[in-house]
Subunit: 330 residues, 2 copies
């Protein structure tokens, strides 16, 4: 069935099932002029938004609508995670060409509902409009954070360790494989492609880290860019050890295959949605005992001896690491 | 200057001035992973979103970027007004072709800042991305409402009056003039075009009405569609008197000029952003004494004698009034 035949309200009726997974905080969900929500007392409220544009952020030849829906929500939840918060509610705007099969939208929503179910986030509204060219999606998310746990980019202090969760660069290497085609032939490409198409927002880890860190950011634009964000916001220098940046065996294979330094995927690739944070050494020791379910790697230190971000090579050579990134804006 | 030269962060620095007009409720505005906001205790939270797509919702030949920015925020504030709420914070997503002059975006933001200043709404974040085809804007807004004043579409009861603010159809007639061109030659077209390009969200009126009404909706899709919304959500019938629908002298002139019944602009045109509400007769009397600064017109009654919406002509002839609308989705 085409969208045209179903109409906007028919579509809304079709999509609004299973949108509320945490009913205690919802007074009115989809279907009125605005959603009505019950805030948790004594919590600060978080609000952020992200837009994904076809041919800029995604290619329908290399992502299924389910994966696209999943990722559109994931990137927003990651922003909430980076503040130490709990995501609560989302509203979704979709601009879609009218000849798109209804099944596309249903699958897109299924992907969004899956990640929302996983993180107990309610879908409480949205807007569905026609698009003359391609699909555009926007997700806005609210969250909550305890005032004592709020993490910003601006709290880093000289002497703090710089720490990152997981491994970096997988997503960008996955994108290289997706762009190239026939990636299914390479077994090691699968986890890379999965990282790119269905990233996991580190909501639980973010909340734990928030109890110990001095600043935090999620890695959406590459390590170089995010480390510069923290350095700039905190008015400190950051010194990273090239050797310490955690790379998967797969991203190293990809680097060899594509003839690129694997480290570049980590530094400039982005879309890993790992958490980058700074923490006092003693607090870091306590954090490692706090039962966090993510690998943590110390990759450098905060310093007053430089401004911006420096990368120290194993040879001892030091290079300034400029904020590249804006990978969707070049 | 072109966007490409300025870069995303240069752009953010340029735009983030004068975005916070109510600082008491903002802990962190633009510039971190998410905005951090201080909710008012004992208020319910409202959340809604609207997307505007070039060539579907607007034509850059007939709107200035300032007007476009103003309107993109206005339509969202109107949704908060329709719940009886106070708008608080917005996040803005913009997809823009890279060859767009920076001045376009600055003007777009100036329009948004003007209406935000007017309604004491903070701009606390957003996303700016490249677009391969045309401009797409998304605004998400949060608001607050006292639990005792919350208005939904679903509270209408038989015997209630059906009331509307202001006059209807001006916006759609204005659009007809904009589409036609050379509207500046017709003096009566100016207020119509203004209604279309810079609609006024009735935030203050919405809060007053909310103290008396049984249901409320803003007229974004035309009276026929919105009356059907209330009838459906409240499981009642609505009987409207064709003669009573408030039309401006200008919309009547436009009807004559374009050879259309002026009433059709009101019924099917949409984008008036007036408030449609139902209210018990005695409460209506009290409302008219409450110092509301908008013209109010009783246009019909809620009844159990029909389902859906009926339009009663002066001749006594009754026609069913179907929900058309989805004017951006046909």
């Amino acid at each position: 069935m085409k969208l045209k035949q179903l109409g906007e309200f028919g579509l809304i009726d079709l999509l609004k099932e299973n949108t509320i997974v945490d009913p205690a905080s919802v007074v009115v969900g989809i279907g009125d002029d605005a959603a009505v929500l019950l805030p948790t007392p004594r919590q600060l409220q978080l609000l952020t938004t992200d837009m994904l544009v076809e041919a800029i952020h995604f290619d329908l030849k290399t992502t299924t609508p389910w994966q696209l829906g999943y990722k559109a929500v994931a990137v927003n939840l990651s922003d909430i995670a980076a503040m130490g918060g709990v995501p609560k509610h989302i509203v979704i705007s979709l601009a879609i060409p009218q000849d798109l099969p209804v099944e596309f939208i249903v699958q897109l929503y299924e992907g969004m509902k899956e990640i929302c179910r996983q993180f107990q986030v309610n879908i409480v509204g949205g807007d569905t409009v026609a698009s003359p060219h391609g699909v555009v999606m926007n997700v806005a998310v609210t969250g909550e954070v305890d005032p004592t746990r709020l993490q910003r980019r601006s709290g880093a202090k000289p002497g703090d360790l710089v720490v990152v969760t997981g491994v970096l660069g997988n997503s960008a290497a996955g994108l290289d494989f997706l762009t190239r085609g026939n990636w299914e032939e390479f077994e090691y490409a699968w986890p890379l492609v999965t990282s790119h198409l269905t990233p996991q927002p580190l909501v639980k880890a973010g909340q734990i880290i928030a109890g110990f860190a001095t600043s935090m950011d999620d890695i959406s634009d590459g390590l170089a860019s995010e480390a510069n964000e923290i350095a700039k916001a905190s008015a400190v220098g950051v010194r990273l050890l090239a050797d310490s940046v955690p790379l998967s065996a797969e991203v190293q294979e990809a680097g060899t295959f594509f003839g690129k330094p694997a480290l570049d995927y980590a530094l400039y690739g982005g879309e890993d949605y790992q958490l980058l944070f700074t923490v006092e050494p003693e607090q870091y020791r306590l954090l490692t005992l706090a039962g966090i379910d993510q690998k943590l790697t110390v990759i450098g230190e905060v310093t007053s001896e430089c401004t911006g971000v420096e990368l120290v090579q194993p040879s001892g050579q030091i290079t300034a690491l400029a904020a590249r990134g804006y990978n969707h804006f070049v």
